[in-house]
């Protein structure tokens, strides 16, 4: 009996001792047959599941484009819903290959978490949602207010900085989840709900009576959102980065899901270069599908086709929500 347990502990110890492979994410993804993509637990416009479990949104499209670029099949994605708190640990531990979850690019996150931001998908900023009945027109009138905020975000620090900087007092109530935060705001525990403006509009639509609530004009922070990958795998970093840039480029050139096949046949030199139908790009080593023969269509085309919505269109902040 004892000998068995001793053997078992030795085996466990050996398991711990083996180093986790940090590089070669692309190989891991290909071997697994699908991309593991960290998204939010539900934020309309970014990553939101419908009642059938289909994910939609900008962050989700990044994942789909990546899968399309790697597998030529945008459906080969496993979406991993993560809370704000758990997202970096999931990336660090290798549970996900890329984090595409409305994450703000900050110095400390880029330098101390062992992760890299690959680019900006959306320029957001922090704002305030209040009830119209309070008759507040500016965030500067919020002295002594109670503020609901979701914990585990950059929001809490920005909030503290803003109120301190303007010599205003406030009370902060921080909740673990977005839903609880909004519920507390709705029940009147707080006067104000603060978050990134994009989220404020999304959450306002979910409230019982959206017209009774108003987003104040002040945007108190700069929140560039973007996908994140693990540090130390340059190849994977390049792939995620350039799939994103290819989508931005495609949009600038007017390439959409509808016309991509037509545009790919175009004779325009810039389009040819973008689609890689000219000689230089086709031999580029940055292609995520190098090694997978049989598919002559360059990866940028599949990436463009797979995403229903375009990146830049979402970047124009819509005040209507």
């Amino acid at each position: 009996m004892k000998r068995v347990s001793l053997f078992f502990t030795l085996a466990v110890a050996a398991g711990f001792a083996s180093q986790a492979a940090s590089a070669e994410t692309l190989k891991t993804v290909k071997d697994r047959g699908q991309l593991s993509c960290g998204v939010s637990t539900g934020l309309p416009g970014f990553s939101n599941p419908d009642d059938k479990g289909n994910w939609t949104g900008l962050d989700v499209d990044i994942c789909r484009a990546l899968a399309a670029a790697i597998f030529n099949d945008p459906s080969k994605v496993k979406f991993v819903p993560l809370s704000a708190k758990d997202r970096f640990t999931a990336l660090q531990s290798g549970e996900i290959d890329v984090l595409s979850r409305n994450t703000t690019w900050t110095l400390s996150r880029d330098t101390s978490l062992g992760a890299n931001f690959t680019g900006v998908t959306y320029y957001d900023g922090q704002g305030f949602l209040v009830k119209k009945s309070l008759k507040v027109n500016s965030a500067l009138e919020l002295n002594s207010a109670s503020v609901c905020v979701q914990t585990g975000t950059t929001t809490e620090q920005n909030l503290a900085d803003y109120f301190k900087g303007n010599n205003m007092k406030y009370e902060v109530i921080a909740f673990a989840g977005q839903d609880e935060t909004v519920k507390a705001y709705e029940s009147g525990r707080c006067d104000v709900f603060t978050s990134d403006v994009s989220q404020l509009y999304a959450e306002r639509l979910k409230l019982a009576n959206p017209a009774d609530h108003v987003v104040l004009p002040e945007v108190i922070s700069k929140e560039p959102l973007g996908p994140m990958v693990r540090h130390g795998d340059d190849q994977w970093f390049d792939i995620v980065k350039w799939v994103l840039f290819a989508m931005v480029d495609a949009e600038e050139m007017g390439v959409t899901q509808g016309n991509v096949d037509e545009m790919a046949k175009s004779d325009k030199p810039d389009l040819k270069r973008a689609f890689g139908t000219d000689a230089i790009s086709a031999s580029s080593s940055a292609s995520p599908r190098t090694g997978s023969t049989g598919s002559s269509r360059p990866w940028a085309i599949t990436a463009s086709r797979s995403t229903a919505t375009s990146v830049r269109a979402r970047n124009c902040r819509s005040r209507a929500g």
Binding site: M1, K2, L6, T9, L10, V12, A13, F16, A17, Q19, A20, S22, A84, K85, F88, T89, Q92, S108, R109, T111, S112, L113, G114, L134, L142, N143, S144, A145, S146, C148, T151, G152, T153, T154, E156, Q157, L159, A160, D161, K164, Y170, E171, V172, I173, A174, F175, A176, G177, E180, T181, K183, A184, S187, G188, R189, D191, R230, H231, G232
Partner: protein
Amino acid sequence: MTTAPRTPPPQFVFRLKRALGGRAGWGGLALQIMFAAVLVWIAFEIVANARANLETQRIISGFGFLRNNAGFDVSQSLVPYSGSDSYAWVFLVGLLNTILVSVIGIFFATVIGFFVALGRLSPNWLMARIAGGYVELIRNLPLLFQLLFWYLAVLGALPGPRQSIPLFGSFLSNRGLVIPRLVPEAGLAPCALALAAAIVIALGLRHYARRLLFENGRAMTIWPYVMGLLIGLPLVSALVFGAPFSLEVPVLKGFNFSGGTRVIPEFVALLVALSTYTAAFIAEIVRAGILSVHRGQMEAGLSLGLSRGSVLRLIVVPQALRVILPPLTNQYLNLTKNSSLAVSIGYPDLVSVFAGTALSQTGQAIEILAMTMGVYLLLSLVTSAIMSFYGWRLGRSLGA
């Protein structure tokens, strides 16, 4: 009623020893040392491996972050705190909030639990049924559900601060209970002295009354004198030297009340949920303990002419405590650990502010989670040490 503790049969001890791998002589010792060495090696490997992986991924590790500015605010703090304090200070703020709700929760859970147990054992049919219903209802519903119920359904239904309910200079609203704050005045020192004097005299009186009881067999009712002393002396001092405190009454200013002391609804919801939930388990433990004391004890006490309450207090409960204490300790530990559910209703406990906000701001998951786990471990060990000490003293006084 001291019965000698039953020693387990030697056959059983022998079997147990063999099952655990105990062997006589040098062979056994060598095995023990080998086993210990393997454990140490595993621990070393885990730490070394984590370090190496952090290094290769360029994740900054170590406890240097504790000196950095936290930069966020907290809704309730027992020590002065602002956003410009360090993460180490945030740790303390969260820790104190956890201890606060645990200690007060343990107190209320014990009191409610004892009364529910006595109610369940009471010969009064209605009372016994109500107490039984309480236990069955509360202990069979998930704690998180009860927490959300108290927070969202009960306290959330209170009116906003502008329509708050006035209660004797206090105000009750969905922002919590704002009570007038006591501001120390010049009369505080003489008043404190008067109170101390009253306590000393009261203790002397108690001593005298006990001697009277034991030597002359004459019972003396002293509590009216004691109450008179405790209230009267400070009152006289207040009349002579001036009031010890002045009241700072809260006023509605802007969105919230300013002035006064505020009890936040998150704290109340957490406290109520934790105390009532744990009380249901404690009630069953206490009931089991009391039932474990032989009926004859109760009957003997009653036939001596003691009241039911006195029999319970002097005879039954002290004997029952020996059975109650170990599982009661478990419940105290559970309550402390369950307090980490606070994060779901926004009470700033250790898990919420330190393992939540501080973790996501710094990304130092290993360090912060290790510290947090260490705290819960330490709190649990301290609680069980206190309870063991109490049990040891109790055992000595019962002569067991």
